[in-house]
Assembly symmetry: C2
Homo-oligomer: 406 residues x 2
Amino acid sequence: MLIVQKFGGSSVADPARIARVAGRVKKVVLDGNQVVVVVSAMSDTTDELLALAQEVGRDPSPREVDMLLATGEQVSCALLSMALAALDCPAVSLTGGQAGIRTDGVHGKGKIVGVDTKRLVSELQQGRTVVVAGFQGLDPGGEIVTLGRGGSDTTAVALAAALGAGVCEIYTDVDGVYTADPRLVAEARKLDVVSHDEMLELASLGAVVLHPRAVELAKLYGVPLVVRSSFHDGPGTLIKEVGDMEKAAVVSGVAHDANVAKIGLFDVEDRPGIASRIFQELARENINVDMIIQGAMRDGRNDIAFTVSRDDLPRALEAVRNIQHQVGAKGVTYDEGLAKISIVGAGMVSFPGVAAAMFEGLAQAGINIAMISTSEIKVSCVIQRADIERAVRVLHLKFGLEKPGG
Amino acid sequence: MLIVQKFGGSSVADPARIARVAGRVKKVVLDGNQVVVVVSAMSDTTDELLALAQEVGRDPSPREVDMLLATGEQVSCALLSMALAALDCPAVSLTGGQAGIRTDGVHGKGKIVGVDTKRLVSELQQGRTVVVAGFQGLDPGGEIVTLGRGGSDTTAVALAAALGAGVCEIYTDVDGVYTADPRLVAEARKLDVVSHDEMLELASLGAVVLHPRAVELAKLYGVPLVVRSSFHDGPGTLIKEVGDMEKAAVVSGVAHDANVAKIGLFDVEDRPGIASRIFQELARENINVDMIIQGAMRDGRNDIAFTVSRDDLPRALEAVRNIQHQVGAKGVTYDEGLAKISIVGAGMVSFPGVAAAMFEGLAQAGINIAMISTSEIKVSCVIQRADIERAVRVLHLKFGLEKPGG
């Protein structure tokens, strides 16, 4: 079978860990599989490079930051290839560009637009394990573009899809997907299987084991994903299309994201095209907007509030202030001290009382809800950041997630 | 004027030095010049990467070492480009491959086979200063190849030649070419001008300011080279074709190389093709052989001795031992404790007594000569390493190099 494996920064943090990863990869090769390994930069490398960049000049251009950061993964893929060779496991390292990862031209937040598998297939046919630098590719002009958050996960899934791999294994520092963050909830339980949709919601909602972009791509191309620990054996969590929805748990897990900021525009003019003007501006700046609330009209004017990642807040505020007058807003407010808590479950769609139970649980704990958003398989509430840990514990208990099949 | 500047690892060792280099480059741009800057890796980076490689696996493949090491220059060129932008000097960094440096496929010791200047010219036309990662290029298969010793100097000269630059400036930690190593000879004098040939000999003979490959390329394409200090201003030393040979000093300088090893094969069969068999084997391993002595025949057998860089000794010994029996050698000896001292001067050719004066100087100081080699503009002697510092001082005095025009 052809297997794509991805190892994150903490798994390749030093030569000893790289050697351990090589040992794991070799075992899979000896079992008769072809293996493509995607690696992140050794942990801390990216931060160290960014610190250097900050020292030489404030606000470096994203194009130059990409030139700089892409070296991190190039180093780790070369080292892992050497470690495999030292175990008599023939290997070759490839930069994102050499591995055929083609991207758009959005530096720092690139998207994969295609994979040219020629070189990969040729190396595999020659019996080599291929080690690919994650998080990067080349744009049509031959410029190095990094993929932003979750870039290495996305690289792995894209390669698995392009090569028709049997499975894409994401190795990380946790041993699977949990019903809630085990650091917050002692009773949190590892899930054996979740659907792509559930994982997508969990990932989007702050369960950091896997980036939503990667899950989305896996869902789109039907790539079976496994999340497992790089430090010890164990089956991990399998993410796949779950056929029998009736059997799915009503609530599979509680996810949270402690880095939420809210921006409000008040007294915005109420005419067609205003909202789209605001969100087009944010999209142009590559800022992801999460929840949006448009308030009740008073005298033909209204308020618009939306949430963004706290990291994006300064840029989002700048973008909004630039167009504040164009949209006739009287003022701009923001709150950077928020968090989001969500419950996710593929079975939720047929149990309409779930959202009410969630609100009740939070209310009983005295936790105020600032914004609400729902989809077929999740309910999310924005609350004060100070309440988030308590909220996770309260809801985990409320939905009986400590019990298998609960 | 179009100027190519090269800054070595110690000139870009940390963010403060990178900022200083950016300031120097900007001044040249403000004077109305177009500038292409070639940078080495930040000092220690290459050693740190090699240390990592050694930890993950002994004897890593040169192809993977190139993947690893090329990141060093990519980091420093991105940082310098950011530092220039911070000074409002528009700049763009390019990897060797992006800058159009095409190489052969000899990993770790690549040779530049051509420069595709399209991207460089386009960036310069758009008013940008181009910062190129030295020491690297792409082979025809798109593989990253590093250029080995002197690779960044060679990159700079190759770019200057391909772009028709007015001058190629090599910035280093010394302020020019001296009559001898100033750390050994207090009276050593900086030369204002030397010919390419003299510089070639000086560089080949251990004057480490400039790699002979770079000088050779500069001579071939008539690129005027300047060696100057990256830490303070000053005209440095200009290396150019010197027309009026009559006026050239008899001896321009004393050079030395403290890292010489000798390998001897004794009782080698005396039949045609034996020497070429030995040296072809060494060439195949990319080992540079310096001096060669073939001893007097006894009974149709003879001894062959040659010198290599001490770094290459282990590989050279292995290569020689592999073919020892094919060439009928009874034994192999080696001595890794040698050094080479040379006197260089374009005027030497018309003064036949120079070599004799050199031997006399060494003899008076009680320094034994193990091997001798001469060319039109230099005489070299291999001596014990322990004698080398004394030998440099003795000859500097003997030829009156402390006096201008001496």
